[in-house]
């Protein structure tokens, strides 16, 4: 490959922190701890680590490595393999685009809660704890009765969404140099906040009971398929792969620098952050069980319910310094979210557009921010939560996994896994063996397709997703088909040579 001039990370640390920032996100707080509790406590780490080695780390090496090899984002990588494959680079761009439109709305909710935690607006004591659910669904979201009733945007959330996009614009418009430097602080900040939250959490009454639920090992479940599904799916979602962005992040890596070791460091850091977050989450779960005298199955321990109902309820019940803890928790979510958001927007969308059309970074960033903000208004409406859930299912589940599996197959069998491995081994700290070729060709795609079939098709083809009306649940397939068609169209358009893409 001829040497090309492309924007670069300013060093190894900025790159690693940017990659870790993309990987650690809201799922580290509200999904991994729940899965660990659900699927065997400490024993869950066995299938998780196995999944990390057979699926997550090889897949990340592929995305970093291909990005660096072609010095392009995802569409440029697949165009480099062959023009007829370029569509496969655009499909994950749409995955990233749609994810970031709703992900930023969740960040806006976090910002709303960080501000309102100062006064514990939903109330203190038992009354506040019981009002936490209504506060979220009826006051913050003003949730309608179904996806068919959209209603007007909730203007407070829309305004906060605009603030989030303005922040993102100023982080992104100067490219990887600034993103890398900012990432160091934005990744360390939530680690410090998590440490404070863990210390506060484990000193609360009842915290130990919650931690027992989180950690007590049960090896009986390791033979069950759903445990392996839980581990594999979490790895696929958590490492920010299949969203185009890691190709671009890899393309900003200097050509003599490491790939394989950085992929391993990113993956281990992501898992360690998630495991650590579990201490903050389950100590609070134990506290609220004792404070409200309820069993764990009556406590929301995952997803939005954990972050925006259980945690605020716990804040209401805390003996002292509750407003402070609330602000720290939601600021932590904000930081975790923002690093993933600019990864999705810049690596996933902006860099590929610059590669393709040769547009300037500032203009592309500005327009992407505006378009994403406008699309995101959908999720601030009264019916927005339903659409967030439906779009999330389409892109963050099916889109991510299917494009990931196809990317591995095309790279493994068409480009050549061996060729990529030799490229990685030329400059990496840790050399990978021939086993890696077969992981990319067979094991990773098989693992991803297992998650798609077991966790997706087997339920969604039998009955509408989450009990939504058939027309609304069908939008999952409409989104996938429409984005696929547009990907083919974009793949057919001639690329402007030698411009954009952060070429400097």
């Amino acid at each position: 490959m001829a040497e090309v001039s492309r924007e670069r990370w300013t060093g190894r640390a900025p790159f690693i922190f940017a990659a870790i920032g993309s990987a650690i996100g809201l799922g580290n707080v509200w999904r991994f701890p729940y899965l660990t509790y659900q699927y065997g406590g400490g024993a869950f780490i066995i299938p998780y680590i196995i999944g990390l080695f057979v699926l997550g780390i090889p897949w990340m090496m592929l995305e970093f490595g291909m990005g660096r090899y072609f010095q392009k984002g995802a569409p440029g990588v697949f165009e480099g393999i062959g023009k007829k494959w370029e569509w496969l680079g655009w499909w994950p761009v749409f995955v990233a685009f749609l994810i970031v439109t709703y992900y930023c709305v969740v960040i806006a909710w976090s910002l709303h809660y960080a501000i309102n935690s100062l006064m514990v607006t939903w109330g203190v004591g038992q009354a506040g704890a019981k009002a936490a659910s209504d506060y979220f669904f009826k006051y913050v979201l003003q949730l309608s009765d179904g996806p068919g009733t959209l209603g007007a945007p909730v203007w407070v959330i829309t305004a906060l969404l605009a603030v989030v996009w303005i922040i993102l614009f100023f982080i992104m418009y100067r490219g990887a140099r600034v993103i890398g430097k900012v990432s160091i602080w934005l990744v360390i900040a939530p680690w410090v906040l998590l440490a404070v939250l863990v210390i506060r959490g484990i000193t609360l009454p009842g915290a130990i009971d919650g931690l027992n639920y989180y950690l007590a090992p049960s090896f009986a479940g390791l033979g069950k398929i759903e445990v392996w599904f839980g581990a594999f799916s979490q790895i696929a979602f958590s490492l920010s792969l299949g969203m185009a962005g890691m190709f671009a992040y890899g393309s900003f890596v200097a050509r003599k620098s490491d790939i394989t070791n950085n992929a391993a460091i990113t993956s281990f850091s992501d898992t360690a952050t998630a495991f650590f977050a579990g201490f903050a989450v389950f100590s609070i779960v134990g506290f609220i069980m004792q404070a409200m005298n309820i069993p764990i199955d009556k406590v929301a321990v995952k997803s939005l319910g954990l972050a925006f109902v259980t945690y605020p309820a716990a804040i209401s019940m805390m003996p002292g310094g509750n407003a402070f803890v609330g602000v720290l928790f939601f600021l932590c979510l904000f930081f975790l979210g923002i690093t993933s958001a600019y990864f999705l927007a810049y690596g996933g969308v902006i860099a590929p557009l610059m590669d393709k059309f040769g547009t300037s970074r500032t203009k592309t960033t500005l327009w992407v921010c505006i378009v994403c903000f406008v699309v995101g208004i959908l999720y601030t409406t009264h019916g927005g939560l339903y659409w967030l859930d439906i779009v999330d299912r389409a892109v963050s589940f099916y889109g991510l996994l299917i494009t990931g599996a196809l990317a591995c197959i095309i790279v493994g069998w068409v480009f050549g896994a061996k060729k990529l491995r030799e490229h990685l081994n030329e400059t990496s700290d840790i050399k990978v063996g021939a086993w890696w070729d077969w992981f990319i060709k067979i094991v990773v795609p098989a693992g991803l397709l297992f998650v798609v079939i077991y966790g997706g098709f087997m339920s969604d083809l039998r009955k509408p997703y989450e009990g939504y009306p058939l027309w609304a649940a069908s939008m999952i397939w409409v989104i996938l088909i429409v984005t696929l068609i547009i990907s083919f169209i974009l793949g057919g358009i001639k690329t402007k040579p030698g411009k954009g893409g952060g070429q400097s």
């Binding site: 007590a216 090992p217 070791n261 391993a264 850091s269 700290d429």
Partner: protein, 35 residues
Amino acid sequence: MTAGAIISAIVVWIILLGGLGFCISRAGRGSKWED
């Protein structure tokens, strides 16, 4: 906390921090950070 939970936490941390420590200790052995 139960003994199982404590042992479980310690073992998981050894695996995660051990893996991370191993990777960090290898940094720079085969790579440079410039073009």
